[in-house]
């Protein structure tokens, strides 16, 4: 029994050592990439670094348990994505405030009004633009460059530019803006 325990300990130590080596090697090779991905999702370096640490620790735990991970890079991306999505959900739930808790009726009305306006605007954008134009519009507002959008939609970047200007023209008409006002919008 004692011998079996000693063997188990030795095996666990060997697995942990191998896992530690693999984790460190992947971290040194790809940490910048994963960090940038996490930051692009949450726009907060501290949260991104926490997520990075958690993802790698889970990778270590999985390897120590003998899991066979064929594509570690994709595995880390998946864990990072799920972890950050969960954290964002948790944050939203924790900071959800009821109308009674707010206690500032005037501000509350203001917020509700602005939310309604935003909702209406989004509805108008969806109704006015075609699916492709809306996709362009959304990706551009997420901060992607024309070349990146073009690659994702399998079109040339000139086409993206054309779709964007068409979308802006349609939105000007839909919002009833005069030519001079709307030309300030820079995408």
């Amino acid at each position: 029994m004692t011998r079996l325990c000693a063997q188990d300990h030795q095996r666990a130590a060997r697995n942990a050592e191998r896992a530690r080596r693999e984790v460190s090697s992947l971290y040194l090779e790809r940490a910048v990439e994963f960090r940038n991905y996490a930051i692009s999702l949450v726009h907060d370096e501290e949260v991104a670094m926490d997520a990075l640490q958690e993802a790698f620790l889970r990778y270590f735990a999985a390897l120590s348990e003998g899991a066979c991970i064929h594509a570690p890079r994709a595995w880390i991306y998946r864990v990072l994505h799920n972890y950050l999505t969960d954290r964002q959900k948790e944050y939203r739930v924790r900071h959800e405030t009821s109308i009674e808790q707010l206690g500032v009726p005037f501000r509350c009305n203001e917020d509700m009004e602005s939310q309604c306006q935003q909702h209406e605007l989004l509805g108008l954008v969806r109704k006015t633009l075609t699916a492709r134009e809306y996709a362009c519009f959304r990706l551009r507002s997420d901060g992607f460059r024309y070349e990146e959008i073009a690659a994702a939609l399998s079109v040339r970047s000139g086409t993206v530019g054309a779709m964007m200007s068409r979308a802006i023209r349609k939105m000007r008409v839909a919002l009833g803006l005069v030519e001079g006002d709307a030309s300030c919008v820079d995408f």
């Binding site: 942990a16 940490a31 990439e33 670094m49 620790l57 994709a74 991306y77 998946r78 939609l153």
Partner: protein, 131 residues
């Protein structure tokens, strides 16, 4: 029946696995995935985020926060291994999931197995990486 369900699921517009998105981000041509990305905003955005992250030119040495994170990670891996040895994988897994929350609960167990000094040292080590 299961096989049939699997085929039906495949025929439905299911999101591609992360492995495929990473391959696409690296430039591998996959016509089926390309069609999905044209139609699915969520996957498209995710694939583009991966592509942008992987095309970065920054070096790890330029980001001191990465070195700090690696140091913390190594400490946590060591702590995980110690806990696994004495309390088993399940406990180590729980510790990995939420070390700060469980620390006050497991510290007495550390003491029982490791002795007061070693238990305090281990608890301090875990607490330090949480700060």
């Amino acid at each position: 029946m299961r096989r049939l369900l699997r085929i039906i699921n495949r025929l439905r517009a299911v999101h591609p696995p992360m492995e495929d998105l990473v391959e696409w981000a690296d430039g591998a041509a996959q016509p089926a995935l390309g069609h999905h990305l044209e139609a699915c905003t969520t996957c498209r955005s995710q694939a583009l985020h991966i592509r942008r992250a992987s095309q970065t030119l920054e070096a790890a040495a330029d980001l001191p926060a990465l070195a700090v994170t690696l140091e913390r990670l190594q400490t946590r891996m060591q702590a995980w291994h110690t806990v696994e040895l004495y309390f088993g994988r399940k406990a180590a897994g729980r510790l990995a999931a939420n070390s700060a929350g469980n620390l006050h609960v497991i510290q007495p167990m550390f003491r029982a197995f490791l002795g007061a000094a070693a238990a305090d040292a281990l608890a301090k080590q875990i607490a330090a990486v949480e700060c």
